[in-house]
């Protein structure tokens, strides 16, 4: 690919400690992503979410972002003004949050929340907007879009809520979709449905997908490539299908530490952090 959709070189996100030194939540990360599905995995606190937030320009205060290059489809994100960021978010890059119960405003109807990115990023008539919203609600697999349109988030189930989130994120047609553990608040049966929906929509609209997850099986099933993060750095990169055979000790442990019928009654492996430090 000549020009990657997302191009990140040596991204560092740091936060001040009380003693005045800086703690790097993300350390010198480089990644590039085209029209493909890439997974970012790692344990809690490994910097996955902070990487996503840096790409969205939403690192909370007093965090600091530095990079040699941070570009989305040719736009230099490091030089963007707040207004420029607002034009970018929703329109060219979208982020699906973890838990739909907290991510939708409880006092605004589904229809209005899905419609809002269109109001901001597209110039359409009232009628056209309504048509697009209903079509989008239908596309994310919500039954009876006309009814759902007028409901409040509190009246939706978790799976419906996550579908509404996806609809709101995708309606303005972003080129890059970041999904930050989009299924961790859902039950097992729904996870597959939501991920199948996400990957299908991403393929239909020719988007890039950055899937943040800690579920290696899920990642292996739904993405092309996997980047493994450990303590703020990318320590391993594999084709997702080859995750099980990764020689890196951290990836290997993450893969083998998942409980299953085969490991029933045995001790699961734990991380040998000394070995990982040696390998990185």
């Amino acid at each position: 690919m000549a020009e990657p959709l997302l191009d990140v070189a040596n991204l560092t996100v740091s936060f001040p400690r009380d003693d005045g030194t800086w703690f790097d939540a993300v350390k010198d990360i480089s990644l590039s992503l085209g029209t493909e599905r890439v997974a970012l995995v790692g344990e809690s606190g490994s910097g996955k979410t902070m990487t996503a937030r840096a790409i969205m320009g939403l690192v909370p205060n007093p965090g600091r972002v530095a990079a040699d290059r941070l570009a989305l489809d040719g736009t230099d994100l490091l030089a963007l003004s707040p207004r420029g960021w607002a034009r970018l978010r929703g329109a060219r890059v979208g982020l699906v949050l973890q838990d739909p119960r907290f991510a939708l405003n409880p006092l605004i109807t589904v229809g209005r929340q899905v419609e809002e990115p269109l109001l901001l990023h597209a110039h359409l008539s009232h009628h056209e907007r309504r048509e697009r919203v209903l079509a989008m609600l239908e596309a994310v697999g919500l039954p009876d879009p006309r009814t759902v349109h007028g409901l409040y988030p509190g009246e939706l189930s978790g799976g419906m809520g996550q579908r509404v989130m996806i609809a709101a994120t995708l309606i303005a047609g972003p080129q890059l979709l970041i999904a930050d553990e989009p299924t961790s608040a859902l039950d097992e049966a729904l996870r597959r449905q939501i991920l199948e929906l996400l990957t299908r929509l991403v393929a239909d609209q020719h988007m890039g997908l950055l899937l943040i997850s800690h579920d290696l099986q899920q990642v292996a099933d739904f993405t092309d490539r996997t980047l493994v993060m450990y303590r703020g750095a990318i320590v391993d990169a594999q084709a997702s299908a080859a995750l099980a055979r990764s020689p890196h000790p951290y990836t290997h442990t993450l893969w083998t530490c998942r409980p299953s019928a085969a490991t029933f009654g045995t001790r699961l492996p734990t991380l040998d952090r000394a070995a990982i430090e040696a390998a990185t």
């Binding site: 969205m56 939403l58 707040p82 607002a86 034009r87 970018l88 978010r89 929703g90 329109a91 979208g94 982020l95 949050l97 973890q98 838990d99 907290f102 991510a103 939708l104 405003n105 409880p106 006092l107 605004i108 809002e116 990115p117 901001l120 990023h121 409040y152 509190g154 989130m165 709101a168 994120t169 303005a172």
Partner: protein, 285 residues
């Protein structure tokens, strides 16, 4: 969810109110009567409120004058009916200025934090530290007596409570996922503050307005009593009480009847506010 139901179906609001809080219904009914009296004053008032009849001055209650006449022979019932107008005008002006002003300041302050918050909150502290009535007197003394000035004086001294309340509520939701989610869709600035934060803050603002208006009725009457509100001969309850004080031992009805009206109006706002709080408070669902 109750707030949502009400917003969705305004027609059923009264029904809700009567079922969940009979006291609020009483308040709302009295308020409706006062509003009707103000709107239909020329039709229902038996006499001209400023027509003097020196021969019939200080007449006790009778079938001709239900509540008697005042020191100029003016019919007190008619003056009470016309007196609803300045009272309602003052308190609605006050509500229209103080609630939006205070809420906007509070939301901005709570959302942005930092030096914006510090500057706005110190300003709020300054205004808050003045006794409301005294500051209102000062305003009226500078601007001159009159209905508009009285309303302005009250509004400009009573917004800080709204700012404080809106700020605290905004702060508690500033780190919420749905505001982060809205930001991730590219929503920012006034659109975020007034489209997404305001609906969350609004229910308590409404309750506070209703509660505050009870006090506003008293303060408006107080300004009138002290001659700082509406100018005579326009009928106004506070001014009417003042007129009656000189003859209170011989002709009690002149001061008592507007006094009772003030009491009832204030009480009705209080009852209504209590009911609205039950209905709109998100914590009571």
């Amino acid at each position: 969810m109750t707030a949502i139901e009400i917003a969705a179906a305004p027609g059923s609001r009264l029904l809700h109110l009567s079922r969940r809080s009979p006291a609020a219904l009483v308040g709302a009914t009295i308020l409706a009567i006062i509003l009707l009296a103000a709107a239909l004053a020329p039709l229902i008032a038996p006499y001209d409120p400023i027509a003097q009849d020196v021969a019939g001055r200080l007449a006790p209650p009778s079938t001709a004058h239900w509540l008697g006449t005042d020191g100029f022979g003016r019919d007190i019932v008619s003056r009470l009916i016309y007196g609803t107008r300045p009272t309602l005008l003052i308190i609605s002006l006050v509500a229209l200025i103080m609630a939006p002003l205070g809420t906007a300041i509070g939301i901005v302050s709570g959302y942005y934090g930092g030096w914006v918050d510090r500057v706005l909150m110190r300003l709020t502290d300054v205004v808050m530290s003045f006794p409301r009535l005294i500051l209102a007197f000062a305003f009226v003394a500078v601007l001159g007596p009159g209905l508009l000035n009285a309303a302005l004086a009250l509004a400009l001294t009573s917004w800080p409570a709204y700012a404080r309340q809106a700020r605290v509520e905004t702060q508690t939701m500033r780190r919420s996922d749905y505001l982060a989610g809205a930001e991730m869709l590219g929503i920012r600035g006034p659109r975020l503050l007034f489209g997404h934060v305001l609906p969350m803050v609004l229910p308590l603002v409404v309750v506070r307005v209703a509660l505050d208006l009870a006090g506003m009725v008293l303060i408006a009457a107080g300004l009138g009593f002290l001659g700082l509100g509406v100018r005579p001969p326009t009928a106004e309850w506070g001014t009417m009480v003042a007129d009656g004080t000189s003859v209170i031992f011989d002709d009690w009805w002149v001061a008592a009847s507007p006094g009772v009206c003030i009491l009832i109006a204030s009480l009705s706002f209080n009852l209504l506010a209590d009911g609205l709080r039950d209905l709109l408070d998100p914590r009571r669902g």
